[in-house]
């Protein structure tokens, strides 16, 4: 087929397409879907938390703000990554809050070590946390993948890694309310570690989930 024939074919009666909202608006939609779900999972697991203890813990507050900002920055960057024409530097948007999050946990680890010695860095498994941790990401992950697939798969690995970062950061934000007094090493390994692993895994399968073939198939009437 020559190019002119292709153009004729493509332009023959195109149905109106629903224009994609701006990335920040899509990020807000994703939060509107995900936050009630995260809250519901936590409520269903009957977890209770102590507000006074939370407000007294400065490190906890810094960590939570950084986690939430990481989720916001990552989801916005993920949605920008599937819209052609944005500056690629926007993909680095989640790095500052992510760095603050990591520094805050690292500072906590050092403080625990100075206070308790080797005991402060002792790691244990917290199996009670596993079911809500596994459940908490399902709806946000499905929602973000469906939303990303409506865009252009320009950087599939990065887009999916950012999506996983957003999902994991939001999940951690919710779960962390019930681990206020946890040792920082626990937070570093189980919480931050799971975020990194999920983002890497998602990046690895990025091209299978988001690619031009799928986009072209989806666009066919």
């Amino acid at each position: 087929m020559d190019t002119d024939q292709l153009i004729q074919q493509l332009s023959r009666g195109p149905t109106p397409v629903g224009r994609l909202p701006a990335p920040w608006r899509r990020a807000a939609i994703w939060f509107a879907i995900s936050v009630p779900y995260v809250a519901a999972v936590i409520w269903l697991h009957s977890m209770s938390f102590d507000v006074t203890q939370m407000l007294a813990d400065r490190q906890f507050i810094v960590e939570q703000i950084a986690t939430l900002l990481t989720a916001i920055a990552a989801v916005t960057a993920a949605f920008c990554s599937v819209v052609p024409g944005y500056d690629r530097r926007i993909l680095l948007f989640p790095l500052p809050p992510l760095t603050i999050w990591l520094i805050s946990i690292g500072e906590g680890c050092v403080r625990d070590w100075l206070r308790l010695g080797a005991q402060g860095l002792a790691l244990r498994a917290d199996w009670d946390c596993l079911p809500p941790a596994a459940l908490i990401g399902i709806v946000p992950a499905l929602a973000i993948v469906i939303m990303l697939r409506r865009g252009a798969p320009l950087y599939p690995r990065v887009s999916l890694a950012l999506a996983a970062l957003a999902v994991a950061a939001l999940g951690n934000f919710g779960l962390r309310f019930f681990h206020v007094g946890d040792a920082s090493i626990m937070v570093l390994v189980w919480h931050f570690g799971s975020v990194v692993v999920l983002a890497l895994l998602a990046g690895w399968i990025g091209k299978r989930v988001l690619n031009w073939k799928k986009a072209e198939l989806a666009a066919q009437p």
């Binding site: 292709l6 153009i7 224009r19 252009a152 986009a215 666009a219």
Partner: protein, 188 residues
């Protein structure tokens, strides 16, 4: 390169196309095609003109599939060129992969004019001896050679037919080939 007014016009046409105006879509596709062709020529000047055209068509198809991502509040040309650059990068990766796996030979080299020296086929010169040598192999090796070398089945297919594992098949075919080489070289 298009002037800002021209780019605005293309953006407006694209907006109309998103709303279902087929004439506007036809116009925008026709106007951007030479632009894309130039960009491909500029960035991939080693490509044959048919490859350039293939790449331009790829870009047009991709643009069509993600036309919902164009935001009329943002400039049109950076949107278009981001898609084009992405597809060109994919095209280059494909080209490199293809080049790495293909050896194009216009003509098989002929060393001597005599027919016996130009045995281009891979067939063995004494098929009867080969058949007998294969027949003398143990059952597993014979089966592996027949399926993988003579019938050119894939390892997966042969494994499902024989019930042998892929590793066992590989070992059997390797041992069978070694045995054949030995037998046939003694006979020669």
């Amino acid at each position: 390169m298009h002037s800002p007014n021209e780019a605005d016009r293309l953006g407006n046409l694209m907006r109309a196309a998103q709303e279902g105006d087929s004439d506007a879509y036809l116009l925008v596709l026709r106007e951007i095609t030479p632009l894309l062709r130039r960009a491909v020529h500029q960035h991939r000047n080693f490509l044959q003109s048919s490859d350039v055209e293939d790449l331009v068509q790829d870009i047009l198809l991709s643009l069509h599939s993600v036309r919902a991502t164009y935001d009329p509040a943002r400039p049109f040309l950076p949107w278009l060129m981001a898609i084009a650059r992405n597809r060109m990068a994919d095209g280059a990766r494909r080209h490199v992969r293809r080049a790495a796996n293909e050896v194009s030979v216009a003509e098989y080299p002929e060393t001597f004019s005599d027919e016996p020296t130009n045995n281009l086929g891979d067939g063995y010169r004494d098929p009867e001896a080969l058949r007998q040598a294969i027949g003398s192999l143990p059952h597993g090796q014979r089966q592996a050679i027949e399926m993988l070398k003579l019938r050119e089945m894939s390892l997966k297919e042969a494994a499902s037919m024989t019930g042998m594992s892929v590793v066992a098949l590989k070992v059997a075919v390797h041992r069978g080939m070694t045995a054949l080489r030995k037998v046939l070289s003694v006979e020669a």
